[in-house]
């Protein structure tokens, strides 16, 4: 009988203690962010899908079509191709596509690139209606970029 009442008391007290925490939280600043209306700043180190880097000195990318990224990719999502052109040393890049649906963002391509031509983009708002929406033409992207 005695333990019944003591349990009743400690039980009720534990609930009051919990409520105290909740009430205290009511007066603390809001920690959430109303996402589509306001956005948090994203860290520059965020790893989105890969992109060819546009170098300011040449105004274009630095890909030499060696195909290291294509070979090192664990998921075979990169396709690189080039052709021999007059007056250009080595091969000129003609195709650089990324199938982002297969990419697992391991970073092997960025690390293996001998000319540091690849980097991660900062894009995180990705949604599409078709699978093909995520087959990126990186060469076109780098040419269109400012």
């Amino acid at each position: 009988m005695k333990s019944y009442f003591s349990e009743l008391f400690t039980g009720a007290w534990s609930l009051i203690l919990g409520l105290k925490v909740t009430i205290k939280a009511l007066f603390t600043p809001i920690v959430t962010c109303q996402y589509p209306r306001e956005k948090l700043e994203i860290t520059p180190n965020y790893r989105g899908h890969i992109d060819l880097v546009k170098f300011a000195d040449t105004g274009t990318h630095k890909c030499i079509t060696c195909g290291s990224c294509m070979r090192d990719c664990p998921s075979d999502c990169i396709v690189v191709d080039g052709e021999k052109r007059e007056g250009v040393k080595g091969k000129a890049l003609t195709v650089f596509t990324l199938d982002f649906t297969k990419c697992s963002l391991c970073g092997a391509c960025v690390e293996v690139c001998p000319t540091k031509a690849l980097d991660y983009s900062n894009e995180y708002e990705l949604a599409g209606y078709a699978r093909e929406d995520f087959h990126y033409d990186l060469l076109k992207r780098v040419e269109e970029r400012e």
Partner: protein, 375 residues
């Protein structure tokens, strides 16, 4: 059970089968459990697996060893860095790669942050299963800080691929150190709040005490490891039992409880967070300068022929990788021993004869991550 045929047949007559899952709010993922109920009592339980099977072990047999690193993170999405750590540890052991000391420190710090993150998510989700909605909001508030810290250094928020054979992919900076120190202070100050809000709560006590009791013998029979085993009083932790990385240098305790019920594993996990904070603090104090990648890691990593094994302590228990190599850079076989699989196998015996609502308590205490079971 001493039952004669007549009553057995009679009680069978009243039994019915209920599907819990594959999509059920209290199974975290696509786990299906067949429950044979008698009234509100679960008399037989049968977990049905395979809904999320992605052939990770088979994939490993088809590509170079280094390329399997991102897959390890997808097995246990809550302990991605620790799975990275285990795999990197395995390959370094097999190929004889020396890891710079700074890289090992970074590995320990990020792994322990990952462990706290996993426990915080378990904490919130478990209480959500039990019907308490608010605690997950507090837990996610804290967890968000860890995700931000790790995002800044690894670039991702959940399925990290940060460790490499011979080190880590990116060095940490002062910002990382200061924000981690700030987080340690913050989480320490939050523990009393959790204590008041949840741990002392009478409803939680009634739901967890004496529910799902395990014994060390039962754990040994099923291979149950992690906080569940430590809740029965066995201080088995891979960081102590088979030290890897630089864990022997740190001063930390292995929290244990004796009762083996849900409350015991609940408290063990809770106290593990405090111990992880201690490890991080010591590692930050002793962080040496130097490179974060080994100088000579061959591009094509050939593993000498033979068998290799490496084990680490994942948030849910012992994680083992077992590699059989034929001398090439593609493994002949890679077996992954994941803790949740063994922990789940104890369910039919542990939950037999329980109330249905207690089954939810007991299952939550296992802290199951379903992709890790199915792989």
């Amino acid at each position: 059970m001493a039952m004669d045929v007549e009553t057995l047949e009679d009680s069978r007559h009243h039994r019915y089968v209920l599907n819990m899952g594959p999509q059920h709010p209290s199974t975290h993922g696509v786990l299906r459990i067949l429950l044979e109920l008698e009234g509100e009592y679960a008399m037989e339980l049968l977990p049905v697996l395979g809904y999320g099977h992605r052939c990770h072990e088979k994939i490993a047999e088809h590509k170079p060893v280094k390329s399997f690193m991102p897959n390890t993170a997808r097995m246990d999405y809550l302990g991605a860095l620790i799975y990275n750590h285990g795999y990197a540890h395995l390959l370094e052991k097999a190929a004889g790669v020396e890891v710079p000391e700074r890289a090992e420190y970074i590995r320990v710090i990020t792994s322990e942050l990952n462990r706290i993150q996993s426990h915080l998510l378990w904490y919130g989700a478990y209480l959500l299963d039990l019907g308490a909605f608010t605690p997950i909001m507090y837990a996610f508030d804290d967890r968000e800080h860890i995700l931000d810290i790790l995002e800044d250094v690894t670039g991702s928020r959940l399925t990290y691929c940060y460790f490499r054979v011979g080190g880590v992919s990116k060095d940490i900076d002062d910002k990382f150190v200061t924000s981690t120190r700030a987080f340690i202070k913050r989480l320490r100050s939050r523990f009393p709040m959790y204590e008041d809000l949840v741990n002392g709560n009478i409803i939680l006590q009634k739901r967890l005490n004496d529910v799902g009791e395990l014994t060390p013998q039962l754990c040994a029979r099923y291979g149950v490891t992690g906080p569940l085993l430590r809740g029965t009083g066995v201080d088995y932790d891979m960081r102590r039992a088979e030290p890897y990385s630089i864990y022997p240098q740190f001063d930390f305790e292995i929290p244990t409880e004796t009762k083996g019920d849900c409350m015991a594993s609940f408290l063990v996990r809770f106290r593990e967070m405090e111990q992880s904070l201690r490890i991080i603090e010591q590692a930050l104090d002793g962080l040496p300068e130097g490179p974060v990648m080994a100088a000579k890691v061959p591009k094509k990593l050939k593993i000498p022929a033979g068998d290799y094994n490496a084990s680490v302590e994942a948030p849910r228990g012992e994680l083992s990788y077992y590699l059989v190599s034929d001398g090439s850079d593609v493994p002949y076989r890679l077996k992954v021993r994941t803790p949740s699989y063994s922990n789940l196998s104890v369910v039919p015996e542990m939950c037999q004869g329980m109330l249905l609502s207690d089954v939810v308590s007991a299952m939550g205490a296992l802290d199951l991550v379903i992709p890790e079971i199915d792989r």
